[in-house]
Amino acid sequence: MSDAILKVEHMTMRFGGLVAIDDLSFEARRGEITAIIGPNGAGKTTVFNCITGFYKPTTGMLTLTHGNGDTFLLERMDDFRIARHAKVSRTFQNIRLFSGMTVLENLLVAQHNRLMRESGFSFMAVLWPRGYRAHEEEAVEKARYWLEKTDLLHRADDPAADLPYGEQRKLEIARAMCADPVLLCLDEPAAGLNPRESDELNRLLLSIRDEEGLSILLIEHDMSVVMNISDHIVVLDYGKKISDGDPEFIRNDPKVIAAYLGVEDEEVEELAS
């Protein structure tokens, strides 16, 4: 029995007259992979942007609880404070890497806050470079660990923009992991990946959950990813939650089949099999 790491209660997000999210409540449990699915325009990315502070929800409460009991009210925090203090890392639907910097530099930027403290806000390290060196090596080791896990070690010194699409996706996840998150939010991590890459991604996400003990929240269209690895699925349609449960339950929920998967018989059968 695991407790809730993220609790979303009665969240509504309006853009002018448009209600993008309407009274949404759900929970993501610690150490589980929670997927948010729904047809295009259902408001999935808006939910993400509210959780990570890029949007402020119009009403509602978002509570994040760390393993040690610290709680954070995310709707009251700035985006970078959510990443820094509440330890929520995210990736983007359209990859946002630091394209002119190397793969390794990308991973070091992700460790900015820790390194800033350790380098005396950088300015002490200008005067005394020696003390900082060990900390930097530690950061490089951490980066190396994630490069090995994502099979990118041989590309460490290449500019991020030179990587093929699939590797850029993996690098973005590695970068998010280097920020030491407790909750990892992935916005369509499998978009544009071929089946083999998508398989690799599944293994990576499962190992992040099992070996690192991390909670993952993901938006995904690729049903093979969603159904294979999620512990828990939330289905949105027009900003409203229409279903919530484990993959088996979602697969058989007529409301989901009607709204999201369509009502064609073949598709229902395909998913049920």
Binding site: F80, A83, A179
Partner: protein, 461 residues
């Protein structure tokens, strides 16, 4: 090059016709550009101004453009691609030729800068030019932090230069503080103004940021001009004390003089050489600090912010503070440069801090290659040194006067024209400046390779 393939004529005779047609177009353009500027001149005539027509100059210009374009088209630009491709290929060959020397260029330049005063060519004029060039190298490196690394376009950099200069001038003339006391203070005051400027513009990006920083630069200048009680307005501040060498002054007569302490004969060159070394050391400190910061978290955050600000925020980087540190560090170096300027000149007035100074410093950064320390230094030497050389080109003056029969020709009057031409040529030849590549700050493997400029973003603000 779909246009070129479509327009490629089948026969060789067609090619000549094509070249002639193109040259005629260029000549027509030359006519439009020169018809009023060269063709008509206002002269004093009885009863007011009269017009003097100089059509021979216009026709001359058109002929030069026509023939030049025709020759280039027929003999230099082989197929399509035009000027950039041709010049690009030539510069590529040049780059390949100088590749082995590249590694030694920067250290060689530093060594040269340090020994320059002892070389036989170093007369007073050369050292003076050296001081001026190094001042701009310092300013270029300072602005490079803001524009090159953090990607924030700052058109008002001269404001911090002015703050530094007036800080020293006022503190020294009113309170008798020495140059060495005020130097860090001037830097800190300028950094403070950098932060004050930083706050209101944090939310602005791109063009908007450029306009606000431009306005800020003007505000500082106008305040200096109008706050007569403190700054003496347009009269400026004179009698600013010179720097001392551990308390020794560079005077012919007096108690504690440099030459009497060391028992050498007085020479006015001592002071000039001393100033040269001050600015050289200040520039080297700027360079060292910037290079170090680039490899530290804050420097990486600056570059990351230039690449993608939203991703930075998603990783928990406080972009507000990061921008402010970039403004503050850049302004700090500007303040050092300003206080050196004040002590060197002995006199400052708001006239020294006009927009054109900001534009020149920015041009140095852009021409040098944004973010490249070496490129900025080379650009400063080429531009400022080049301007100064123009002042001393008597042979050009003599040549033009004797050949074209133009009287009182002064090459220096053409410096803005040459400046503009240089900008156009560089932007065609190397759109990303002399050094268009970015050197990563850390490597996992042994091989150290630069990142192509095409991948590096220039920042949106």
């Amino acid at each position: 090059m779909t246009d070129a393939t479509r327009e490629t004529p089948p026969a060789s005779g067609g090619k000549l016709a094509e070249a002639v047609r193109e040259s005629a177009m260029a000549a027509l353009l030359a006519f439009v550009l020169t018809s009023l500027m060269l063709g008509v001149r206002t002269v004093d005539a009885p009863g007011g101004l009269g017009l003097q027509y100089r059509w021979h100059l216009v026709i001359g210009a058109m002929a030069v453009v026509f023939v030049g374009r025709l020759l280039l088209k027929l003999f230099w630009w082989k197929e399509d691609g035009g000027a950039p491709a041709a010049v690009g290929a030539a510069s590529g060959r040049f780059a390949a030729l100088t590749e082995p020397l590249r590694k030694f260029a920067a250290p060689a330049l530093v060594v040269f800068a340090f020994v320059l005063p002892f070389l036989p060519i170093a007369d007073r004029q050369i050292i003076d030019i050296g001081i001026l060039v190094l001042t701009y190298v310092l300013l270029g490196w300072g602005l490079n932090v803001v524009v090159g690394l953090a990607g924030l376009l700052d058109l008002g950099y001269v404001a911090f230069y002015a703050v530094g200069a007036y800080s020293y001038a006022l503190l020294a003339t009113h309170f008798g503080l020495s140059f060495w006391t005020v130097l860090p203070l001037a830097g800190i005051l300028a950094a403070m103004w950098g932060m004050i400027l930083g706050f209101p513009v944090l939310r602005l990006r791109g063009d908007y940021l450029a306009i606000v920083t431009l306005a800020f630069g003007e505000i500082i200048r106008v305040v200096l001009l109008n706050w007569v009680e403190v700054t003496k307005g347009p009269d400026g501040i004179s009698g600013i004390p010179r720097p001392t060498f551990f308390g020794l002054e560079f005077k012919r007569f007096g108690e504690n003089t440099f030459h009497s302490f060391f028992g050498i004969e007085y020479s006015s060159m001592h002071r000039i050489i001393f100033l040269y070394y001050i600015i050289l050391v200040l520039a080297m400190i700027t360079n060292y600090v910037t290079m170090r910061l680039r490899r530290l978290p804050v420097g990486r955050a600056w570059e990351a912010m230039r690449e993608d600000e939203i991703a930075c925020r998603a990783l928990g980087i406080n972009t507000t503070n990061t921008k402010l540190t970039a403004f503050a560090i850049g302004a700090f170096f500007g303040g050092l440069g300003g206080s050196f300027f004040a002590t060197r000149q002995g006199f400052i007035s708001p006239e020294s801090f006009t927009f054109i100074e900001s534009a020149i410093i920015l041009a140095i950064v852009v021409l040098g290659g944004m973010g490249s320390q070496f490129g900025v230094a080379v650009a400063a030497i080429a531009m400022i040194g080049g301007f100064e050389l123009l002042r001393n080109m008597d042979w050009v003056k003599g040549f033009v006067e004797s050949t074209f029969g133009i009287e009182n020709f002064d090459p220096n009057e053409y410096r803005m024209l040459i400046f503009g031409l240089l900008m156009v040529v560089i932007m065609v030849w190397k759109p990303r400046g002399f050094v268009g590549t970015r050197m990563p700050t850390i490597f996992l493997g042994r091989e150290r390779k630069a990142i192509s400029g095409d991948l590096v973003k220039e920042g949106e603000g």
